[in-house]
Every structure is written in structure tokens, then in C-alpha cells.
């Protein structure tokens, strides 16, 4: 629920509760006031009757009963409610009476005087109507206020929220938030600005670190490699030649490993944000053409079923996905076998025949989750593919069916 709606709801609930309490209080206070007034009036009436009796007048008023009682009865005063049937209106009405026994010079009298609760119903209904109207007006004003005033107050907040949603640490563009006159919003804006600037700075530092690490490692590797190459130019014994070749293959693996690790680090840092429209079919054909003689050298055939498909992705990363999946398929296909490549609609599939995996399937896309069969592989190729797929919102899955390993990529068609 939106904050505005929620605060509005609380406002309405509070209004209703406070007005109800006020109404109940008003009702009882007014009633108490009115009863006190009525008692005063009835007592005055009794006093008047005693005066008349003292002066020897006979008393005969409607709703007044006077009775002479023996002197032995002690004086008392009782107020009570009663119902009296009104034959004219044919209904019972609320009455309030005073029954008292008191002495005057003419004797001891028992007097009962009555009055109706005239107007009380009108009072209570007026109270109710007034409170109801107040509640309605307050609610209306609250709703209108939240739409007109709150919208204005909250507008920098919503603007900043929008900026934040579209904010990317990898972008060089500063977040530039809108300021507000509200202290809390101003504080929030300052903290967010600070946070965003700091993350951008740290991201940049991380990126620089990655690049520096790359530089620091690649150059010594280059030296080792070129020196080993130099050593291979000299005529040496077979034994030494073997040592050199082994050292070279170690450097080669280290080189590829370093390259893959750097690529993964960059993917983690989203270092490839620039996307373009790519004809996946053309890219795929390019790679297959490039590989034609590698395939024929290995006596592996590729059965290709490709339809034009456009995707929105980073070109370099797309090339990486295609070459990693293709090289993976070629690597694990025995000579004389066939690789299938399929591309149509939003589905891209590569499958190759081979023995089942000798490790759990869920290790496949994990870093260094490699098979013991091929020590030349870095164990990073498929996790790179997985990560690029995630970056593009593509779904990659693996299945082993009828002696074939199949990698399927569900492409995202969002542009």
C-alpha cells in the first residue's frame, strides 16, 4: 500500500474515533446538564405547591399529585424515570418525576411532580448529525489535501526514487538528485547522493584494480612465454626439450586462466554495459566458418539449422558465448561424430554426442566445476557462459538425452 494511502487511512480512522468519543462525551454531559436543570425545575415546583398549600389554596394541576399523609412519615425526596401512556398519541412517553414527603404549616404532604424529556431526541440527533458532517468534511479535506498538497511535498521524493531506480554504478553520469524544503527529504537526498557518489568511486577503483591486476600478471607471463620461446630456438637435448614444452603448457594454462578470471571479474562488475542489436545467426555463421577447418581437421561434422534471429546484447560477450559453447562441444566430441547447432525464434541449441558427465550436473556451470577428463580446460568457460546469459536475461539449461549433451539457451527478445 502506498504511503499516502496508508497515512490517509490512519487519518480517517483517527478522525472517526475522536469524533465518536467526543459525541459520546457530549451526549452524556448534555444529558447530565439537562437532568440537573429538570430536577431544579421539579424542586421549584414542589416548593411552589407547598407555598400554595400553606396559604390554604387547593392544588390541582395536570401531572401533579398531592396527598396528605400522617405526621409520622419522615420527609424524603426521590427522583425517578417512568413511562406514561398518552392516549392522544397512542404511545408511551418518557417522564421524569419527583416524589417527596415534606411538612408545611398546613400539614405533612406527599407530592409528586412530573416533566417530560421534551427535546432530548432532537438534541441527540443534532449531535449525531453535526459529528457525522464534521467527520465527512474532515475526510474529504484529507483526501483532497493528500492529492494536492502531499503530491507537491512528495514530488522530489518520487523524482529521486526514479533517479535511483535508473542509477548504475558503472555509468559515469552522476546521480544528481532533486533537493526539497522538507528536512527529512533533504537528509535522505544528501545521504543517497553521498552513497551513490561513493559507490561510483569504489566501482571505478575496482575496475582500475582489475585492469592493474591484469597488467601486472600478463606482462610477467609474457616474459616467461617469450623466454621459453627463445629457449626453444636453441638446439637442446630431448630431455630438456620435454621440460621446456611442459613449462610452456603450464604458462599457456595460466595465461588462459588469467584471461578467464579477468573476464569473470569484469562480468561481476558489469563492465560491458553497451548493448546493440545483433544478428545472432550471422555471428554464429561467422564462428562456424572460422572453425570449418578445425572441425575437418578433427573429422567432426557440424549439422547446422539456423534461422535469422536478432538479439539485443553486447557484441563481445555474444562472441564469447558462441565460441565457448562451440569450443566446448568440439572439445568433447570424438572424431567421426556430429555436432548439432540449432537457432530459431528465441531458442539456441548446441548438442554433441558423448559419454555422460562424470560429475554432478549442477557443478556444470560452477567455477572450476570441471571434469577430470580434460585438464587443459580451465573450468571457467561454462560459468562465463552462464554469467553472460544471466546478464542478458537469457536462460541456459543443460540436458543429457540419448547419448547427447545439449545446451539450450532461451533468448530474451526484449529490445
Amino acid at each position: 500500500m502506498k504511503l499516502l494511502q496508508r497515512s490517509l487511512r490512519y487519518n480517517i480512522v483517527i478522525t472517526v474515533i475522536s469524533l465518536t468519543v467526543a459525541g459520546i462525551l457530549m451526549y452524556y454531559l448534555l444529558k447530565k446538564e439537562i437532568i440537573a436543570e429538570m430536577r431544579e425545575q421539579l424542586e421549584y415546583q414542589v416548593e411552589e405547591i407547598h407555598q400554595s398549600l400553606k396559604n390554604g389554596h387547593s392544588v390541582s394541576y395536570p401531572l401533579v399529585e398531592v396527598e396528605k399523609v400522617s405526621d409520622g412519615i419522615a420527609p424524603y425526596t426521590i427522583f425517578r424515570d417512568t413511562l406514561i401512556y398518552d392516549p392522544l398519541q397512542a404511545k408511551s412517553e418518557d417522564y421524569y418525576y419527583l416524589l417527596s414527603v415534606g411538612k408545611n404549616s398546613a400539614g405533612n404532604y406527599k407530592i409528586r411532580v412530573m416533566t417530560t424529556y421534551i427535546g432530548w431526541n432532537e438534541y441527540s440527533s443534532t449531535i449525531f448529525t453535526m459529528l457525522f458532517l464534521t467527520a465527512a468534511i474532515l475526510t474529504l479535506l484529507n483526501v483532497a489535501g493528500s492529492y494536492f498538497f502531499n503530491k507537491r511535498i512528495w514530488s522530489p521524493f518520487f523524482y529521486n526514487l526514479d533517479r535511483l531506480k535508473n542509477f548504475s554504478v558503472s555509468s559515469d553520469e552522476p546521480i544528481s538528485l532533486q533537493s526539497s524544503t522538507v528536512v527529512e527529504f533533504k537528509e535522505l537526498q544528501r545521504s543517497l547522493q553521498d552513497l551513490a557518489d561513493r559507490s561510483q568511486k569504489e566501482y571505478k577503483a575496482l575496475r582500475e584494480f582489475t585492469e592493474n591486476a591484469s597488467h601486472e600478471m600478463q606482462t610477467p607471463l609474457g616474459i616467461i612465454q617469450s623466454k621459453l620461446d627463445r629457449m626453444s630456438q636453441v638446439e637442446v637435448s630431448e630431455e630438456l626439450a620435454d621440460h621446456i614444452v611442459q613449462a610452456k603448457s603450464g604458462v599457456e594454462r595460466l595465461r588462459k586462466l588469467n584471461k578467464s578470471l579477468l573476464l569473470l571479474a569484469k562480468l561481476d562488475n558489469n563492465a560491458y554495459p553497451d548493448k546493440t542489436e545483433i544478428s545472432l545467426d550471422i555471428q554464429l555463421r561467422k564462428q562456424l566458418e572460422w572453425l570449418e577447418e578445425l572441425l575437418s581437421g578433427k573429422k567432426v561434422t557440424a549439422v547446422v539449422n539456423i534461422e535469422p534471429v536478432k538479439v539485443y546484447a553486447n557484441l563481445f560477450l555474444t562472441e564469447v558465448i558462441l565460441s565457448n559453447l562451440l569450443s566446448n562441444a568440439i572439445r568433447y566430441t570424438a572424431p567421426g561424430n556430429t555436432i548439432h547447432v540449432f537457432l530459431s525464434g528465441s531458442m539456441f541449441e548446441i548438442s554433441n554426442p558423448g559419454a555422460p558427465l562424470d560429475f554432478p550436473e549442477n557443478f556444470l556451470f560452477q567455477r572450476f566445476g570441471k571434469s577430470s577428463q580434460n585438464i587443459q580446460a580451465t573450468g571457467l568457460g561454462l560459468s562465463i557462459v552462464y554469467q553472460i546469459c544471466q546478464l542478458n536475461n537469457w536462460k541456459i539449461s543443460y540436458a543429457y538425452r540419448e547419448g547427447h549433451h545439449t545446451f539450450s539457451v532461451m533468448l530474451s527478445m526484449d529490445f
Partner: protein
């Protein structure tokens, strides 16, 4: 030492190369190999020294490292382009980043090679730039009776064409520009297909391709130029 030369249009030209690289051992290795190939090499290890050298634009090729003490190689690239020199520029960088690659090529560099690289690969790329620079000129490499036409990408022996596949042709050219040097199978694989396809099995296919090329050349010329060097790779031997 026999000085090899790049033949362009039957003229023998000695090419001047400036190597801008701060890592001493690597610089020495590049200088030594390119000198062996017949290039006239000069070196610069810092930004300032390189700046002084590129102000006289008489280099045919500049091998340019991006990260230098005292400044960025990209700045040097911009300076060279401002001078409107027709020097071929090849960027050598440890930064395997696409943006660097693109900005380098956008700014007018001719090629980009990532460290660590094979010397043979650098040499092959330099030769490719020189051939591209000589656009329009009949570009033929002659080895005895063998003629490699690098613009038409054809190979003739006497008047007969030796029909090669695309990769066999690339392999032949790689051997020729790196003649008299042991070229490893890994370096050949990286040259023909890039790093991504390196595996034991792929390296075996290098053997297949090299043997096919060898057979074709022997059957036409009667000379076996390609020698196997035990464990190390192959060597194009030419007197």
C-alpha cells in the same frame, strides 16, 4: 646473421620500427626478434622518451604499449595521428578490454595485440600491416621458385597454382614471415583460431593441417621447407 628483408614490389626496403615498451625484458625480446627478422629497431621505455622519438616521423611501424611510466600510450597515439604520419601503429597491451581495443582502433591504430603474445604473432601482424600499407602495389613474396601473392591470396610454383585452403594459406604465410624460427603448435593454433579453441585435440589438428600443407608444397616444389622440431613445433628452413 643473414638479414631478411621485406620485399615489396621487387624492391628491398629496410623497415624502421620503434618499440615503445616499459618492461625491459619484453622490450629486449621484441627488439631482438624483430632485428633478427631484418627490421631496424629503436626502443623507448618511457612516455617522455617515446614522445621525443615520435616527433621525427620516419618510422614505418610503431609497437606501442598503452601503460607507460609518465603517461598513456593512447596520448602518444593521438600525437602521431595529429602529425598525419603514415606510420603503422600496433598497440601491445595487457589490458584485454574491449573499450581499450575500440578506442585504440578508433583513434587510428592499425592493430591491437594483447599480452602475453607470441613473437611470431607480433611479427605476422607487423607484416600484415606493411602489406596493407602497400595497397595497390603488386605484393608478391618469392621463395626460390615459390610465389605468394598476398593481395590475391594465391600461391604459385613456376606457373602452376598450388591450391591451398584458407587456413593452409594463412599457415604458409605464418611460416614464411617467421622463417628459420621454431614455431610452436600453440602459437599456430592461436594465430589460426584464437585462444578459445585451444585444447589438446585442437593442437592435434595443427599437425594435420601442417602435414597437408607440407605434402602439397613437396609435391610441387620437391623441397621440404617445413621441418619438425622434436617436441617444440615446426620450422620453415630456407637458405
Amino acid at each position: 646473421m643473414s638479414v631478411s628483408v621485406v620485399r615489396i614490389n621487387h624492391l628491398t626496403v629496410v623497415m624502421n620500427v620503434l618499440i615503445i615498451e616499459d618492461e625491459e625484458l619484453l622490450q629486449e625480446e621484441i627488439r631482438s626478434y624483430l632485428t633478427e627478422r631484418g627490421f631496424n629497431c629503436e626502443v623507448a621505455a618511457t612516455f617522455e622518451k617515446a614522445k621525443g622519438k615520435i616527433s621525427q616521423p620516419d618510422y614505418d611501424i610503431v609497437v606501442l604499449d598503452i601503460t607507460l611510466p609518465g603517461g598513456s600510450g593512447i596520448e602518444l597515439l593521438k600525437m602521431m595521428k595529429r602529425q598525419k604520419s603514415d606510420t603503422g601503429i600496433i598497440i601491445v597491451s595487457a589490458r584485454d578490454s574491449l573499450t581499450d581495443k575500440l578506442s585504440g582502433l578508433d583513434l587510428g591504430a592499425d592493430d591491437y595485440i594483447t599480452k602475453p603474445f607470441y613473437m611470431e604473432e607480433l611479427n605476422a601482424r607487423i607484416n600484415a600491416i606493411l602489406r596493407r600499407r602497400a595497397l595497390g602495389i603488386n605484393d608478391i613474396i618469392r621463395i626460390d621458385d615459390l610465389q605468394v601473392d598476398t593481395s590475391a591470396k594465391t600461391v604459385f610454383h613456376a606457373k602452376t597454382e598450388i591450391v591451398l585452403t584458407k587456413k593452409e594459406y594463412e599457415l604458409l604465410l605464418y611460416f614464411i614471415v617467421n622463417k628459420n624460427r621454431v614455431v610452436s603448435k600453440q602459437s599456430i593454433l592461436a594465430h589460426l583460431w584464437g585462444d578459445d579453441y585451444a585444447s589438446n585435440e585442437s593442437i592435434d589438428t595443427i599437425y594435420v593441417h601442417t602435414m597437408n600443407l607440407r605434402k602439397k608444397l613437396v609435391s610441387h616444389t620437391g623441397i621440404d621447407y617445413i621441418k619438425t622440431v622434436y617436441g617444440m613445433g615446426y620450422k620453415w628452413v630456407q637458405g
